[in-house]
């Protein structure tokens, strides 16, 4: 390390150089090919990668025919957040989540709000070394009920996430994943054995949007949602409504019908407000009436828990009992004002409310 680099890193004593062995662990899902090439089997992209090259995510590298993650314990963002900020509304409401990310992502959404960490390589941002046991201890120390893998795309730091989830459980801390769901079935199944809740950012209900805005595919994400449902993993869906690009009536109705038929009416569906970001600064924030139209379409289909997000104070932030229609979890913004659930049931009518409540 030269003097300049050292001075840059001085406030971050945990920081190591990008070649530091402490961050590098052999990847779990890949196939070796002739001539030292490998095929990544973690996400549906299935990058074929030459020696010394990286995949689309920018955080996995082929070194001499062996594939490595470069971001194990290499955390570039961490914060103690309310779990509602993820958002999870049916998972330990009112609790704190020790939230973290590494650099990298396996898609490139034009509306990404965290592109400064998701669209870069690990050596292009400042990182700290946060090994799983230390992470779990910090989460416990900060009174967090869960560790949340979020901000960028946790699928790309899969190995770290698994180890962190194990360390968390050993310390009595659960794990919640915030993902785009662009992942192959085998790793997803393995993940489900180790974590407690998964929130999927369903970016749209059309391949056109996935092609033009996300640089990914819709079908594998829908397949992942079905797999989560089959495995009994607690799942919530967020749909960021982007004006003119994924806000048609037809798309809202198609989505609601699909959720009902493939996942059931108890999966929470959050319609979130878009704000101009990254490469979509030319679009306005989502009009409130569009979000309400989306919610109305999902309500009409019979989904039990349909929310509007990023609109603090809106009545659709609250959880209503699907039977007696009374508010069972009252939220304003990210804070829970009151909770009327008793052992997962409505205090007023004893209706079971789907979720992981912890009370």
């Amino acid at each position: 390390m030269n003097r300049r680099s050292f001075l840059k890193l001085a406030p971050f004593p945990c920081l190591g150089a990008e070649t530091d062995a402490q961050f590098i662990v052999e990847a779990q899902f890949y196939e070796k090919l002739p001539y030292k090439k490998i095929k990544c089997k973690l996400c549906p992209r299935e990058c074929v990668i030459d020696d010394r090259e990286r995949g689309y995510c920018g955080v996995r590298e082929n070194r001499g025919g062996v594939y490595y993650t470069l971001v194990h314990s290499r955390v570039c963002a961490f914060h103690v957040d309310p779990i509602e900020k993820k958002p999870f509304f049916h998972f330990l409401p009112g609790s704190l989540a020790y939230s973290l990310a590494t650099a990298g992502c396996n898609v490139n959404c034009k509306m990404c709000q965290n592109w400064e960490i998701s669209q870069v390589r690990p050596e292009q941002v400042r990182n700290i070394y946060l090994p799983p046991r230390k992470l779990a201890a910090l989460a416990k120390q900060e009174d967090c009920a869960s560790i949340a893998y979020t901000y960028s795309e946790p699928v790309i730091f899969f190995e770290y996430m698994l180890d962190a989830a194990d360390a968390g459980h050993a310390a009595g801390v659960k794990s919640a994943v915030v993902t785009g769901g662009y992942v192959q079935e085998e790793p997803l199944k393995k993940l489900c054995q180790r974590v407690d809740a998964i929130k999927v950012d369903l970016k749209a209900f059309s391949q056109k949007f996935y092609t033009e805005v996300v640089n990914g595919e819709l079908k594998p994400v829908l397949n992942a949602l079905v797999t989560l449902r089959k495995l009994g993993m607690w799942t919530e869906i967020v749909y960021l409504v982007v004006p003119t690009l994924n806000d048609s009536e037809q798309e809202f109705k198609g989505l609601a019908r699909w959720v009902k038929s493939e996942l059931g009416v108890d999966v929470p569906l959050h319609f979130s407000r878009f704000h101009p970001m990254y490469l979509l600064k030319n679009l306005p924030p989502t009009p409130l009436e569009t979000l309400e139209r989306a919610k109305a379409a999902a309500d009409a289909e019979g989904l039990h828990y349909v929310y509007i997000g990023n609109v603090p104070g809106h009545p659709a932030e609250k959880t209503y009992c699907p039977k007696c229609r009374r508010v069972v979890v009252d939220r304003v913004g990210f804070s829970v004002e009151s909770n009327h659930l008793r052992k997962g049931k409505c205090r007023f009518c004893q209706q079971s409310i789907a979720g992981v409540w912890g009370t």
């Binding site: 030269n2 300049r4 990008e18 070649t19 001539y35 030292k36 090439k37 074929v48 030459d50 020696d51 010394r52 090259e53 990286r54 995949g55 689309y56 995510c57 920018g58 490139n108 669209q119 870069v120 390589r121 050596e123 292009q124 640089n215 990254y278 490469l279």
Partner: protein, 316 residues
Amino acid sequence: MDHKLGTSRRHLLRMCSAGLWPAPPPKSKVVIARDPMLRSPAGSLLKLLDRAMQSFFDRNSPLEAWRRLVRPGEVVGLKVNCLAGKGASTSVALVEAICERLQQAGIPAKDIVIWDRLNADLESAGFRPTSARQRIRSMGNDELGYEDDLETFGSAASLLSRTLTQVCHAVINLPVLKDHGIVGVTMALKNLFGAIHNPNKYHLNAGDPYVADVNMFPPIRQKVRLTICEAITAQYEGGPSYMPQWTWPYNGLIVARDPVALDYTGWQIIERQRAAKGMKSLKALAREPRYIATAADPAHRLGTNAPLQIDRVEAP
């Protein structure tokens, strides 16, 4: 015929004789210098470089040629291609020859910067990273990092290397003539992926239109003055990694200002070698470098891929 709207035969002849008719666009000159004896004791890479430069700039001495390219006071970046390590990267020998001529042409050592993505890449190709002020500097983008604001064009949005934007006044692009397993071939246009922070995002669809889009970023368009493509040992399959079984001794350098014309010319050389070895064309393997045509289209106009518009010159 309405002479007000069209041009009569007489009018046309009059205009041509008066020199008023717009001249056809100049052809893009691509010089290929080869030396079959390069690897023998009599061979000299410096002489080969001199032949290529004199031919390209149509000058009688190498220094005259270099002085047409750079001026004293400018910081000159040499954008090498080092990811593949020794064997399939820009060679130290070529870079040394270029540095020698640059210094003779009035560029002091302190104003020459050899750069690529990472110090580790440079080191693996034999370039010792150094940022010492009085010597030739060799530095990866990890040394100074990237700009804070995105450059965007078409489908590409990237942060540019500060070495390009803040250090170099002029850039000489030094790619290698080789196959690329995803985007077909990698030469002049593709080598500029080393100037952006997110090249891994732009290999989809065989790099089309991303390679062309990245080359549209103004600092790249404005600063890259010449490409000298190293084709001493070229590779027709298995790239960008070094696969010696698929290399052949081309013993040449390819020089052009027009990166599209150079890439088109180099691509055809690779295709001919593939055919000679009984291998399928890149098109048949779904990795035809379509980005070359895109770089020439009306939205980009980075150069020409039309064979009739390329003035291919074999250096004497």
